[in-house]
Subunit: 386 residues, 2 copies
């Protein structure tokens, strides 16, 4: 997939939208993206919606057709794609694929999830459908349980400390304070974190992304069409992989192979080196995930991401700005929306209009991970005029 | 999308599989398709799984990654696509898209649903997620209710009679007796049908497809690769459309625009006329749907499909063999599997190996419809050596 650009972006605030239906949430983000692109919506030839649990939580499926109708986009093909927490990144890749294959001039990727209207048990049960139910589900696992285990494995191999992981939490919560789309920004001390309640030892409340409602949308077209856009952002690569759905056996250090494969391929297709990347938006569903992900992405050697966090090297003005949006920990994680929201955040950065602007941002990388590494999406975007 | 062929097919029996998990069901069909293709599975570069309600009914999502892992297909991109009852047709189209775009040499489309382990109320609630919940859901509609209404609209405009609709039921139930994949074949009299219990007047029990478990899978590749296959079946076109998610207002005769647009486009892309089509597998979720669909597909003038059924013109040896598999009414409707199952059935016919073989079958058309016409898939396949 070559010669593609993002020319329109839209997003709702991530937070509680209890009185808005999932269709209305998605429609709002999509309408904003179409407006931002400044195109006649009749030119949109395909719609992809990334969503994970609209069925069990809202009793609403077939969101593709429902949204196409709500947006007045006519008879175009419209598809919900699902890959657990990576659903949004997968939707973005498929919008790119539709344009790259010549099936549409413009394609829209929408990510949406509505979760806060349901109680915690119902939400937990729905999220557990990203486990392999025949194996991990039978064993009674949950995601906080599995990421608690992941932390223990990482700590066992590399000595990762509570203070190092807390540095991730504090950075991302701090960034969220300045991002108007994030509702959980906060100034936190180390004591605030270690005094918050245990969710799944060693994970405490502030280590976990909140349950959230929200929608994001982006519009993709050819680089040729994008010439007429204000600030087109080029898609250098977008890659999707599968991985082991189970937490790996405890023999080796903790890592997600789907991330490793996806990032290596995305870097290669983009024709860049990791040194060219100005910033990363990655899948910090739990604090420890940011550390594991940075190592899996190959930007920091295994066992060193924790100290990078502690030394501030992943701050907005650090060596490798990571999650300047506030990440999932601060923005929240409206599951299907997250991956498209990351593309939204990268575009804001690469346009130079982000509230937490990374200086000289030219190339950004988005990383969206589903389940316990069962599916992954990595996309690399650039402002070639920056 | 040009120069594509189906080179491998597999399917479980459609029926009750209470002791088999949804993952195992899908794995069985996929393994059979890979075996049938006679290829090294390492050549499969993408997996699409069509599924509708595995979340609410089996607590299992992220089926793409789960299945890729279960089948040992490595790190390839794997995506669940959902478009209600058209999910299977959409999965097939995306497998085609992946090959046509040059992203994979071979791609596998799997359709799967597991439903019979849940009670009727849970299943009905899950199926209702194909309605627009903000509108039809609020109004308390269900699909039998909506198709009962569709029948009334059709009858009001065209005088469609009970005996004519019964002819569809009797034909499809009769065909199912000879298809080993169908579990609801039966010889029925007119009296059997009108004495069966009312589901949603005028729909009676035998007018409705049963709740079913099942999985089907097909493997797509380039026509070039397909040269090495035993009996490659060419994909002349595969089209996906969106339509109005609501039952149309009662001003005009009953029809589904998504079907009309999809079929016109599919015929045009295939470069054929309707007279070239040897047989049709279409979405008879209810008996009346077969009549409406044949008119929407443009094979029979509006208002005449009911008399064609009564006169036997849609029988296996008729002018326009329709649902020689037994259709959804006889095979059952494991929702996400149905669209892939239709491709399976067409391939059997076009290979000349179907238990209800249509004589001289050369070109077949599959029609898969979601919700109340909110999403549609039409594919045209051919045996170019027949």
């Amino acid at each position: 997939m070559k010669n593609l650009s993002v020319v329109g972006i839209g997003s709702t605030v991530f937070g509680q939208h209890k009185s808005t239906s999932i269709t209305e949430l998605a429609k709002k983000a999509a309408s904003d993206a179409i407006l931002d692109a400044g195109i006649d919506k009749g030119r949109i030839g395909a719609l992809y919606v990334g969503n994970f649990v609209s069925g069990p939580l809202s009793g609403q499926e077939v969101l593709g057709g429902i949204l196409t109708n709500a947006l007045g986009l006519g008879a175009i093909p419209a598809t919900k794609v699902e890959g657990a927490c990576a659903s949004g990144g997968i939707a973005f890749r498929h919008a790119c694929l539709s344009v790259a294959a010549g099936l549409s001039d413009y394609a829209i990727a929408i990510g949406v999830e509505k979760m806060t209207h349901q109680n915690t048990n119902v939400v937990t049960e729905a999220l557990n459908s990203a486990l392999d139910r025949d194996i991990d589900g039978e064993a009674g696992h949950t995601f906080p349980g599995l990421y608690g285990l992941a932390w223990r494995l990482h700590a066992k191999h590399y000595g990762t400390s509570r203070a190092q992981v807390s540095a991730v939490v504090r950075k991302n919560k701090r960034a969220g304070l300045k991002n108007p789309l994030a509702q959980m920004g906060k100034m936190l001390s180390e004591d605030d974190i270690i005094n918050s309640r245990v969710i799944s030892d060693p994970l405490r409340l502030y280590d976990c992304c909140p349950v959230t409602d929200g929608a994001s949308a982006v519009i993709v077209t050819t680089t040729e069409n994008a010439k007429y856009s204000k600030i087109p952002i080029s898609v250098l690569s977008t890659v999707q992989t599968s991985g082991n759905p189970h937490v790996p056996k405890c023999e080796g250090p903790m890592s997600f192979q789907a991330t490793q494969v996806a990032c290596n391929e995305a870097i290669q297709i983009a024709g860049i080196t990791r040194q060219d990347v100005s910033l990363i938006e990655l899948h910090d569903c739990f604090s420890i995930a940011e550390i594991i992900d940075l190592e899996d992405l190959g930007f920091i050697n295994p066992g060193h991401a924790a100290s990078w966090a502690e030394e501030g090297r992943t701050d907005i003005d650090g060596d490798l700005p990571t999650n300047p949006s506030g990440g999932l920990i601060s923005k929240g994680h409206p599951v299907g929306a997250t991956g498209v929201g990351q593309i939204f955040e990268l575009c804001k950065q690469l346009r130079g209009t982000h509230p937490n602007q990374v200086r000289g941002a030219k190339i950004g990388l988005a990383h969206n991970l589903g389940g316990c590494g069962v599916t992954c999406s990595v996309s690399i975007l650039a402002n070639l005029n920056a």
